[in-house]
């Protein structure tokens, strides 16, 4: 028990990896057990996540090991280069960690029907989870980078092998894009390393010595920004996203939108903000403008899409714009709203992608105009989808309202005009979601779908936790806000002055 408590984070990170190895070692004949192994090895981190949620000290604020970071594990890993195995979480990362731990079991549930290359699929998926958890936990830049890359490879194969018809193109596009980002990050990382004495990758030390990087601050910031912006994705680096989403299998879309997109924003907050505070302030208006562009541009593009999955992908771009806008505002409301928006978008967009997957499994296409009148045939599915759409358009009482309103409220003080422009995103969001509901579900039932089966129990099971979370966080977001309030408040005061 003692051991478990001391290594909670390591366990969370490496349990899926153990599962992956187990799957690889088992013979192909025991294929049916792979799902269950994957299920268990993703559920265990969820249990641990709950434990972390309970044990987490809400009042600790700061950016060093002693204050700010909890559940710390620190060992020397490669002593020759001063590289450490250094894990720890604070109010910023715990939310992302919880999100990852939550979404992964649901994704396993959503990929229950995969029947091609089970061994590869589930082992790669678990490896992916390890990578994601690792990114959110690591406090050593090198370790961060390693996990970042660990994540990349499984994603490439998961899209490239189990994807749709244009999967190779999408996978390559995703891979190259992300790789460009990684390279920039690597360069910055090395610069950081060599500019500290003694050389280190330890993020807490880099933060302490941030004055060393003043000289090239703006360039470094921008290089990091491009690296992370590709992941978020920020206009104009976003075009890999619709392609990757359209081609990726359902569960992978969920992970992609639910977790991977958050990593960009997380990276900016974790690395750019505290290590390069001056440059961050300098670029804050720029960030806000990019956020607004994302919101409006994404919404407009979403409105014009004909493919259901592309629509959701573009809506993701729009919603991630709020994150940028909130981050840039340097008000406590804005930053808290931004991180909460990351979490809420993770849950809502996961719901949306699972739902699109459900209808795709049945109708074998995703053309919005190809449907019509489904409401009278599949009422339960319609109800849940409408719920998810309303959550997406920020209906008060559902979780995204809280985060969006916090972002806008925070940003309003600094960037009044931009916020008003961003506010039109709310209207556009309503427009494209309602228009989609109308075209897919309402009107006369197309005779083609007279036999369409309604959503089944397994699918409902994979959606129900998300529905509950969206409602609960809409009415009572305080527990989550309490988790991050202290850390983000401190971050805001350190960076924003």
């Amino acid at each position: 028990m003692e051991l478990i408590n001391e290594h909670l984070l390591s366990l969370m990170v490496f349990l899926p990896l153990i599962g992956a190895m187990l799957i690889v070692l088992l013979p192909k004949s025991s294929e049916q057990s792979f799902k269950w192994i994957a299920c268990i090895t993703t559920l265990l981190p969820l249990i641990l996540a709950y434990k972390i949620f309970v044990l987490f000290n809400r009042d600790v604020a700061g950016l060093s090991i002693n204050q700010g970071f909890q559940f710390v594990e620190k060992f020397s890993w490669i002593p020759a280069f001063n590289i450490e195995y250094f894990l720890g979480i604070d109010g910023l990362s715990i939310l992302m960690l919880l999100l990852t731990a939550l979404l992964c079991p649901l994704c396993i549930l959503a990929s229950w029907n995969i029947n091609k290359g089970l061994k590869g699929y589930f082992s790669l998926f678990l490896l992916l989870e390890t990578g994601m958890m690792g990114v959110f936990c690591s406090l050593d830049f090198f370790l961060f980078y390693v996990f970042w890359e660990v994540m990349l490879l499984p994603m490439y194969f998961l899209i490239g092998v189990w994807g749709g018809p244009r999967r190779e193109y999408a996978a390559i596009k995703f891979f190259l894009y992300t790789l460009v980002g990684s390279v920039l990050m690597l360069l910055v990382m090395l610069y950081f390393y060599f500019m500290t004495e003694p050389h280190t990758f330890d993020i807490t030390r880099l933060i302490a010595e941030h004055k060393n990087f003043l000289g090239f601050g703006h360039i470094l910031w921008f290089a990091l920004y491009i690296g992370f912006a590709i992941k978020i994705p920020v206009f104009p680096f976003h075009t890999w996203l619709p392609d990757a989403h359209v081609e990726a299998p359902t569960a992978i879309s969920v992970i992609l939108a639910g977790v991977l997109l958050k990593m960009g924003a997380y990276g900016i907050l974790r690395i750019s903000y505290p290590i390069l505070p001056e440059a961050t302030l300098y670029f804050s208006t720029f960030l806000a403008i990019m956020g607004v562009i994302n919101i409006v541009y994404g919404a407009l593009c979403a409105m014009a899409q004909k493919d259901l999955k592309k629509l959701v992908a573009y809506s993701s771009i729009s919603h991630m714009g709020y994150v940028l806008l909130g981050m840039a505002s340097f008000t406590e409301e804005g930053i808290n709203g931004a991180v909460l928006q990351m979490f809420n978008h993770g849950t809502i967009t996961a719901m949306l992608f699972i739902l699109v997957g459900v209808v795709y499994d049945r109708a074998h296409h995703r053309e919005i105009d190809g449907f019509g009148g489904l409401a009278s045939r599949v009422p339960v599915y319609t109800g849940i989808t409408a719920f998810a759409f309303f959550a997406g358009l920020g209906l008060p009482g559902l979780s995204s309202f809280v985060s969006e309103v916090l972002v806008l409220l925070g940003a309003f003080q600094k960037f009044t005009l931009y916020t008003i422009i961003a506010g039109t995103g709310i209207i556009l969001g309503a427009a494209y979601f309602l228009w989609t509901i109308q075209r897919v579900f309402l009107g006369k039932l197309d005779a083609k779908y007279a036999e369409l089966p309604d959503i089944n129990i397994r699918e409902i099971l994979s959606l129900a936790p998300l529905v509950v979370i969206v409602v609960v966080l809409g009415v009572y977001p305080q527990p989550v806000l309490d988790l991050m309030k202290a850390s983000l408040g401190y971050l805001n005061s350190v960076v924003g002055g």
Binding site: G373, A375, F390, G397, L406, I426, A430, Q438
Partner: protein, 681 residues
């Protein structure tokens, strides 16, 4: 009892929520098991419970000392981060209790009515689930104690409106009307939320971070001298809020959704689009009256918008033939009156009109619904006529409602409308020209209402589509529909007596009751004769227009045709609703659609194109590189290999494999060597 209410008044929300959950989750099974009425009965009971609790709250508040008629119930923190502290907490004061009574009372009657009206629908469970959800949201809206929580209900009622307008979703037109309602409301909501932000930061800059109504009221004086540029911040805040109210309460320029919203079932029109939801804007402005009173500019804008909307919408009502559309424009027009009242600082008059209007307009819609049922879903008034004899109860109640709407003494509409017009005349924020507009609007109202009544109930039956007379197919509606009509008719008659003007020796109970919450503007004093004179003027005007309508539509229809011919252009403009929908379509919708298509193309062609172009360039570069590699670098290596290879293949020929050749060579060489040796030696 009193203790219980003061601590647990918020469970008023619980009943409709419970009804929503029951009907939403198991309503279908209940409906299949116990028949169609069961869902309606459950829903009605829930609203009835809310109504009972509303009465309890009202009584509890009445018993309290007038200055302390207020209690709040706080449940838990909602959003509490940075400077923003909002909680899920509810405020009960006289204004709230009046709204609660209207909503749950009228709501209850309409629920019962809906049991009859929706009897033939196959999914009543869905209808009543949404209906109860609406009641929940609306109650939440009025008992919220901070702006954010109010916004929750504000959007929630919009959602229910959307769901119920498109209730018969198989018809695309209904769905589009629902979309229009929601999106237009969202445009208003943007104004609302910006107002909230501005208010939050403005009052925060004075050191008070709050969005709580009570605290805002206490500290609103701090905002008085804040300027943004050279505009008073309060003015901007108020205008933003008012823009939100325009959306919800269907004022120019955002009224366009309401007439379309009539696509929903008639109980929806009665409850949501006449009695309650559309008055949310009035409630909101009244709730924030302490802000609005600080900004004469904003009040002026509200008053002018209200007056213009009242007249504008009434004129459209002239030339409509759909019974529900006429009533919808009438609603827009009456809402205009309410805003006119708010705009001159007569907030309690606005609320008074909200109340009486809820009675008679709900009654009108329900009567219209009864007619529609009786006419087998015919809504065109030119195809009606002569229904007076066939639908007696409907006729009488409809007539009562009409007279109440016209504002004829002593029905309820008279008192509220009179109070509004008198306030407009005598308030320091009002003016004579606004008063004239209001009177003109009242005249127009009487014209289109009398036209409606005449065409529907009097004269011959006009159903010209079919050869045979269809009047005998018309039937009176069942009791479950008639009883709510009668109750509302009674309310329409007596509802006005809560606000009898002083000159009749009465006292304005409502105004007094609301006074702790609402800061009405102090009216200028005029001699009593002025007030009576003005009343008579209004009365004459109403009668004149009424007679005109009766004359044109019942006595001399030929005159009407001539008149229409003579003013054919204005008539066309009016009958096409001033082309506002077309203008909006052209100006906004089409442009947004164009932009969005352009953006999507831009994204695919330019942004993605650039990416793919970069990839293409890289590939070209790679090909070039690989060509160089092949030709020069690899060429050298391959060149050597080729030389050796070709040499080898030539040398190989020596190896013939014929033993004779070898022997030949062997001896030839021996001889050669020998000769060589001999020659050397």
């Amino acid at each position: 009892m009193k203790e219980f209410i003061i601590h647990y008044a918020h469970i008023i929300l619980l009943f409709p929520l419970l009804g929503f959950i029951i009907n939403g989750l198991v309503g279908k099974f209940l409906q299949d098991a116990f028949g169609k009425s069961i869902c309606g009965i459950i829903a009605s009971l829930m609203v009835c419970a809310s109504f009972a609790l509303s009465l309890g709250i009202f009584c509890t508040l009445s018993e309290l000392d007038p200055r302390s008629r207020l209690f709040t119930i706080t449940l838990f923190d909602w959003i509490n981060v940075g400077n923003l502290h909002t909680s899920i907490s509810f405020l009960f004061d006289p204004l709230t209790s009046v709204m609660l009574l209207i909503i749950s009372g009228v709501g209850f009657l309409i629920h019962i009515y809906a049991i009859g009206y929706m009897h033939h629908d196959s999914s009543t469970w869905r209808f009543f689930a949404f209906f109860n959800l609406f009641i929940f949201m609306m109650l939440e809206l009025v008992i919220a104690d901070n702006v954010f929580l109010m916004f929750l209900g504000w959007e929630g009622v919009g959602l229910c409106s959307y769901l119920l307008i498109g209730f018969w979703y198989k018809d695309k037109a209904n769905v589009i009307a629902g979309n229009k309602a929601f999106i237009v409301n969202r445009i208003g909501d943007l104004g609302f939320i910006i107002g909230v932000f501005l208010l939050f930061w403005a009052i925060g800059s004075q050191g008070i971070w709050t969005l709580n109504f009570a605290e805002l009221k206490e500290y609103s004086y701090l905002l008085e001298n804040l300027y943004l540029g050279n505009i008073n911040v309060v003015t901007i805040i108020c205008l933003c809020f008012f823009f939100g109210a325009c959306g919800k309460s269907a004022q120019i320029p955002l009224y366009v959704w309401l007439p379309d919203a009539m696509a929903g079932p008639t109980p929806v029109s009665a409850l949501i689009h006449a009695a309650t939801m559309v008055t949310a804007g009035i409630y909101m402005v009244t709730r924030l009256s302490f802000l609005f009173i600080l900004s004469p500019v904003a009040l002026g804008v509200i008053a002018i918008t209200g007056a213009v909307t009242a007249v504008f919408a009434a004129t459209i009502g002239f030339a409509q033939n759909d019974i529900k559309k006429i009533l919808a424009y009438s609603t827009v027009s009456q809402l205009g009156y309410m805003f006119l009242a708010l705009g001159v600082g007569a907030f309690s008059a606005g609320i008074f009109h909200v109340m009486t209007h809820a009675f008679f307009k709900a009654l009108l819609f329900m009567g219209a619904g009864s007619i529609i049922l009786g006419m087998h879903h015919e809504q065109d008034i030119t195809k009606m006529g002569g229904l007076r004899k066939k639908m007696r109860w409907t006729y009488y109640t409809f007539l009562v409602a009409t007279i109440a709407l016209l504002g004829i003494f002593p029905l309820s509409g008279f008192f509220s409308k009179d109070q509004i017009l008198w306030s407009v005349f005598s308030s320091p924020y009002g003016s004579k020209s606004l008063w004239l507009l209001g009177v003109f609007g009242a005249g127009l109202t009487s014209f289109y209402m009398i036209r409606l009544v005449t065409l529907t109930f009097f004269g011959r039956h006009h159903h010209t589509d079919k050869a045979h007379d269809t009047l005998h197919e018309v039937h009176e509606s069942p009791k479950v529909i008639i009883i709510p009509l009668v109750i509302l008719a009674m309310l329409s008659v007596i509802g006005g007596f809560v606000g009898v003007p002083h000159i009749f020796g009465g006292s304005n109970i409502l105004q007094v009751y609301l006074s702790p919450v609402i800061a009405d503007a102090e009216l200028n004093h005029y001699p009593m004769i002025t007030e009576v004179g003005l009343m008579l003027v209004v009365f004459m005007c109403v009668l004149g227009f009424a007679y005109g309508a009766y004359y044109l539509y019942s006595r001399k229809p030929s005159r009407r045709a001539k008149l229409i011919e003579r003013f054919s252009f204005p008539y066309k403009v009016i009958s096409r609703k001033y082309f506002v929908d077309e203008i909006y379509q052209h100006l906004f919708v089409n442009n947004i659609m164009r932009t969005m298509r352009f953006m999507a193309r831009f994204d695919m062609v330019v942004v993605d194109g650039l990416v793919n172009f970069a990839a293409f360039l890289t590939r070209i570069g790679a090909y070039g590189n690989s060509w160089i590699d092949k030709v020069f670098v690899d060429g050298l290596v391959n060149g050597i290999a080729t030389v050796i290879g070709s040499l080898g293949s030539r040398l190989r020929k020596i190896q013939t494999g014929y033993i004779q050749d070898y022997v030949y060579v062997l001896f030839a060489s021996i001889i050669f060597i020998l000769l060589f040796r001999f020659m050397i030696a």
